[in-house]
């Protein structure tokens, strides 16, 4: 369970990136954050795991203030997948995935850790790449490696910043399936997405961010949801049965 109370984030020069954001996210839940470029999605997700200090408000994870936790304690509650994915040296896919379980092994992985890493790789279909050097792989394969790193952490909360970005359509659908699987086990998954139709299809709840403020929050099946999306992105949307058509005007 993650609770965000009146969260505001400013840059050092006083530019407001997030203003008065509040959310209550229960377990067993897939929450998707959507919004135009520069609306504050990444800032919101980074503050949720304590990478950014809020200028106001607090984030509670299982009723503990996340900013009071040590990195190790925070890592045993939450797993994060960010957008920067590159390693300067020739580490293998297995090395990277195993680092997702750092809060368990702290650098000395056991057989159990290796098994969990292999399982995570198998669920993403990259087990054949385990001994490859990660910086020789394609963007999508690197993303899958980092997704496997997050998956094998076995924590209660998963926070993924645009996990689908470089993935092909099949991999994207499979990943949404994996997220749904985590949710069924009672975990909380929060992700930001750019693909609105996938978001509407899979999300249990949805937040729409614009200019650092949440303009709408609710269920994707809600009739007001489409109107809110249209307003924020300045596009036209129309439901045709199960299909949603999106156009500029």
């Amino acid at each position: 369970m993650i609770e965000i109370k009146n969260l505001s984030v400013e840059t050092r020069r006083g530019v407001k990136i997030l203003q008065q954001t509040s959310m209550h996210l229960g377990n067993g839940h897939l929450h998707v954050v959507i919004g135009p470029n520069g609306s504050g999605k990444t800032t919101l997700l980074k503050s949720m795991i304590g990478l950014i200090q809020p200028s106001q408000g607090s984030i509670l994870c299982d009723s503990i203030n996340i900013n009071t936790l040590t990195p190790l304690a925070a890592a045993s509650h939450m797993s994060y997948l960010g957008s920067e994915h590159s390693t300067p040296f020739a580490y293998t896919v297995e090395d990277i995935i195993l680092w997702g379980r750092w809060h368990r092994h702290q650098g000395y992985p056991t057989k159990k850790d290796r098994q969990a890493a292999l399982q995570a790789a198998q669920s993403l279909g990259i087990e054949h790449l385990m001994s490859r050097t990660v910086n020789t792989l394609s963007q999508g394969e690197q993303k899958k490696t980092h997704l496997a790193k997050s998956l094998c952490s076995e924590v209660q909360h998963y926070i993924w910043d645009e996990p689908l970005a470089p993935l092909d359509i099949r991999a994207a659908l499979e990943l949404m399936g994996l997220a749904t699987g985590l949710v069924r086990q009672g975990r909380l998954v929060v992700m930001s997405l750019h693909d609105i139709s996938l978001a509407l299809q899979h999300a249990d709840s949805l937040s729409i961010l614009a200019k650092g403020k949440i303009t709408w929050q609710g269920l994707p099946s809600d009739s007001e949801c489409l109107i809110a999306i249209q307003n924020v992105f300045d596009v036209k949307m129309a439901r045709q049965g199960h299909q949603i058509n999106i156009s500029l005007d």
Binding site: E84, S86, P88, R132
Partner: protein
């Protein structure tokens, strides 16, 4: 025998070069045999160094124990310490060019030593310092911190966005120039008073007239630092994920960074205080080691150390014999080898291609 040793290194390099394409096919056994081979080469070199005197071969036991052995051991461990510091700073900066002579660590330590010597001589306590390691460590630490701060200045995340390599090299260039000017200033004043010669040789790097005190000092410091670095090595590996990602998997990035900074400073400080600067050993040895082995600091550290020792001892042998009976400055020789190697690294296309995808 020296020639044999050199060719042996070349042979090891050639037979193992194929691993650099996919370093993961390197098994633990292959790594062990590589390390044993390197140790063998090092032992050969030490034996060669022990019997070579200023006038050809010379085997006087007294001379061996009281003069030559401490000198050789100092060279072995100063080389190892410099190479280990290079390996650590590569990981700390997430860049394989970020080594002590390039980011300004060595220059900073030299400057601190020169300044302390100058102050001591002004106060009339003589131009010889009682515990130079204090000053060199302090200088090394300050310079590394400055370099790290320059690289991270207005950049949220090390290694992401921006031209990190450019920042690193330009920052290092500025720091090196600044500290070199400072050292030259101190040296010129000391020279006027006729007390600068020992400092001059120190700054240039020289193992001449080392005693057992020097040798045992650097030996103990090296092993303590290596043990600390060994403990930090898994976290250093994971640090390559980037600041944010390594924090979110549970690593206290700030704490690790301080600890590594301290270890690097002590390693460079101690090697400088007992043998003077060994420019580029900290670059070549870890670079070579990374070509031969897996990227894990735990394996790299001993391998780079052995290669660093080999380089330092070979340089010392050349320094003693090339213009015998005059001792040349070792630092000059390592620079003569190291600087071209560095230029070659910069212009070799593979480095930039790799560097781009890595940054």
């Amino acid at each position: 025998m020296l020639v044999f040793g050199f060719f042996d290194i070349l042979a090891i390099y050639q037979t193992t070069n194929q691993w650099s394409i996919n370093s993961n096919s390197v098994s633990l056994r292959a790594m062990l045999s590589l390390m044993l081979k390197s140790i063998f080469v090092l032992c050969l070199l030490v034996a060669v160094a022990a019997v070579i005197g200023p006038t050809g071969f010379n085997l006087d036991p007294d001379l061996l124990i009281s003069i030559r052995l401490p000198r050789i051991l100092t060279a072995v461990f100063a080389g190892a310490a410099t190479a280990a510091a290079g390996t650590l700073s590569q990981s700390l900066f997430r860049n394989s060019l970020a080594t002590p002579s390039i980011i300004g660590t060595e220059a900073g330590a030299s400057f601190a030593l020169a300044l302390a010597t100058l102050i001591a001589s002004q106060q009339g306590t003589g131009a010889e310092l009682s515990s130079p390691i204090l000053y060199t460590t302090l200088g090394a630490g300050l310079a590394t911190m400055l370099s790290l701060a320059l690289m991270r200045f207005r950049q949220e995340n090390l290694g992401s966005g921006g031209d990190t390599l450019g920042r690193l090299l330009l920052g290092g260039f500025a720091l090196n120039a600044m500290f070199a000017a400072g050292s030259a200033f101190c040296l010129s004043i000391l020279m006027e008073n006729g007390a600068g010669m020992s400092l001059y040789h120190w700054l240039m790097g020289s193992f001449s007239a080392r005693t057992w005190d020097h040798a045992s000092g650097i030996m103990v410091t090296y092993f303590i630092c290596a043990a600390l670095a060994f403990r930090l090595s898994p976290a250093l590996d994971a640090l390559s994920l980037g600041d944010d990602a390594s924090r979110t998997i549970g690593i206290n990035v700030a704490k690790i960074r301080w600890q590594v900074l301290l270890v690097i400073s002590v390693l460079i400080g101690s090697s400088l205080s007992c043998g003077g600067a060994l420019p580029f050993v900290g670059l070549i040895a870890p670079h070579f080691a990374r070509k031969l082995s897996k990227p894990h600091v735990k394996i790299l550290l001993p391998l780079a150390s052995i290669i660093g020792s080999i380089l330092a001892v070979s340089a010392d042998i050349v320094a003693r014999t090339l213009r015998a009976p005059i001792d040349m400055d070792v630092g000059l020789l390592t620079t003569l080898i190291g600087a071209p190697y560095f230029i070659w690294l910069l212009i070799s296309e593979t480095y930039w291609a790799g560097g781009k995808s890595r940054d």
